[in-house]
Amino acid sequence: MPSTSSAGVPSALRSIAALFLIFLAALALSAAPAEKRLSVYSTAANYSLPIVQRQGRDYIGLLELLDPLGAVSAKSDPPRWRIHYNNILGDFTVGRSHARIQGRDTDLSAKFLMEKERGLVPLASLSSLLPRFLGGPATLHQESGRLFIGSIATHFTAAVSPDDPSHLVFRFTAPVNPSVATEPGKLHMTFAREPLTAPASPTLTFGSKIIPSAIYSESNGAAEITVTTTIPLIASFSPDGRTITVAPAKSQSAAATPGAAGTGAAGTGTATNSPATNGITPANTPATGAPASPAQNTQPAQSAAANSSLSVPRRYFAIVDASHGGNDRGEALSTTLAEKDVTVAFARRLREELENRGIPTLVLRDSDATISLDDRAFFANTTHAAVYVALHAASNGHGVRLYTAILPYTGEDDRGPFRSWTTAQQSSIPLSQAAAASVAAELKKQQVAVRTLTAPLRPLNNIVTAAIAVEVAPPASDLSQLASPDYQQQIAGAVAAGIANIRTQLGAAP
């Protein structure tokens, strides 16, 4: 006879009922959608806030959003809700889709809501609302829940190593610390805290059988780079957190040493890892451009600097830097033509011409990204390239002007293996002048008017290797020629030939 409780219900039946309830609860929990969040990136702080759904729309608490950015206070007097951010007054009314910020009417795109004295504004209104409070731009990626305040952004480039096509090297303009997960055929890097922004095209192809492509995507407050692969991969991090090398798991494991600065995730199973990296923007750059190359990033930075006399494998012989970009348009060459667009088109042609001559080349800015001069110099120095070529375009004059650095007057001295950042170019000036002379000779052969000058032009003075700047002006008075493929090809061919002619001399430099 089955046992019964005092209420007369069989205990087996009670157990089944309890199990059924637990199953239902688990089902309900697993079916619940993940909480939507908004990631906010600013120079003051990076943080994340919950997004709430009201009346079929996404809403966010305005007080919580502004709190980390400055002095903020709110006062509720239903139906009105007032918020003070620094000295800016915002006046909201429940149920109205307009607000007054500093006396100016602002459209909210949907009704303002108040819950327990908490003011909720539609997520879609942040792009227009926040600039009124902050006095600067705010860029909202609404679908992915990412908000960029000011011109903050981390850009990246990805390229297969010319020495080893199984190595894919990501370079970032700021230190990053993604979580890494692998699954068969894919390696995911998720950037939840970094203001990573999309490259020109979300799908990057590399022409490698092992790593054919990488895809950039954004969702729920994070950016993700997914690397597709045919074999198990591992990600390793440079000590400064600005370079991630993705390579076959075996070779990386063999290269790794105990106490490595940041070896990332593992084999074919799902694994995650957040490497401990520190963001260090160097005030000095090591004598031979010392931070270790991705293949050697298991060496501490200091050790790499101390061993600066050791030969460092050179992945790129030339760095081509398309000057300006993003917010910095450079010279307005005409009403429709900006310098930044001409330089990036010219950079791609120059890369092609150099690679046709067997010179591995990296284009430093291959999209409309804002990259600081310090970051450009940092990239150039850490790739150990033999020559750095900055590209500019101008509307005045005609032909091409080649520049080498004028060093600033400074009392700074090099310290041990480190060089002064402002005069890092000092010992490479003769080589830079030789490169400029070689390029000038090739341009003259092409009947292109050319002048060779010095200029106080950053980042030439921060580069530790041969560095020249090429300023392209139209061949005659017709400015549209600057964007002409034929003209760009002619100049790019001559510049590439000039560099190729002096390749041995450039390559012999440490």
């Binding site: 101008a394 060779t452 700047a469």
Partner: protein
């Protein structure tokens, strides 16, 4: 019945009002035009006294060169004021209608500070930098012109700093680096390069 002289008086008054209105409209139209382009530079008392022979290094955009150009200008005896007058004479050329290297309207040198040993600080106004033509050569012609004119006429200057409205600025108009101190020797060599079109 209204007297006839009353009609005449009212008609004359109406005509006067109409005439005054038209005149006021005309005056208003004339006044708004030039006001917008008023020169905002501070008024500097004219320098009196004997003139002196100086050498101005003048930029020419059409050829992209810097020419040493003799000029006679009145100069005060105080070294710092002499520096300011030299640069104002140079700017007068650039602000002229037939300028070989046009600078934006309202561009001015606010002050020049001479600090021993051998440092000159040139403080230009915002209009000078904000409206300056962008380009490596355009900007370096301006920088070289200012520094070479100063150092050629006031011996002993070794390094020069250029400020905008009293503050450091990264570049003049996107290219020429203003963040550091210019080495007068290096600018002297640049001037030699810029005096030739080759």
């Amino acid at each position: 019945m209204i007297p006839r002289h009353f009609y005449i008086a009212v008609s004359v008054l109406l005509l006067a009002v109409l005439g005054m209105s038209l005149y006021a409209w005309h005056i208003r139209g004339r006044a708004t035009g030039p006001l917008a382009s008023l020169d905002t530079r501070p008024v500097v008392p004219p320098v009196a006294g004997p003139t002196e022979q100086v050498t101005l290094f003048v930029a020419y955009d059409d050829t992209g060169v810097l020419h040493a150009q003799p000029a006679r200008i009145p100069l005060p005896s105080v070294r710092q004021q002499r520096a300011e007058e030299l640069l104002r004479a140079l700017l007068a050329l650039y602000l002229d209608k037939s300028s070989p290297h046009p600078l934006p309207q309202g561009a001015d040198v606010r002050s020049v500070y001479l600090v021993d040993p051998g440092l000159a600080v040139i403080d230009v106004n915002a209009a000078f930098a904000d409206g300056h033509r962008s380009g490596v050569l355009s900007e370096e012609l301006t920088v070289a012109s200012l520094i070479q004119t100063l150092s050629a006429n006031l011996p002993g200057i070794l390094k020069v700093k250029i400020l905008v409205e009293g503050k450091q600025r990264d570049t003049l108009a996107g290219h020429a680096d203003l963040s550091g101190f210019f080495d007068v020797n290096a600018i002297n060599q640049l001037t030699t390069q810029l005096q030739s079109t080759q």
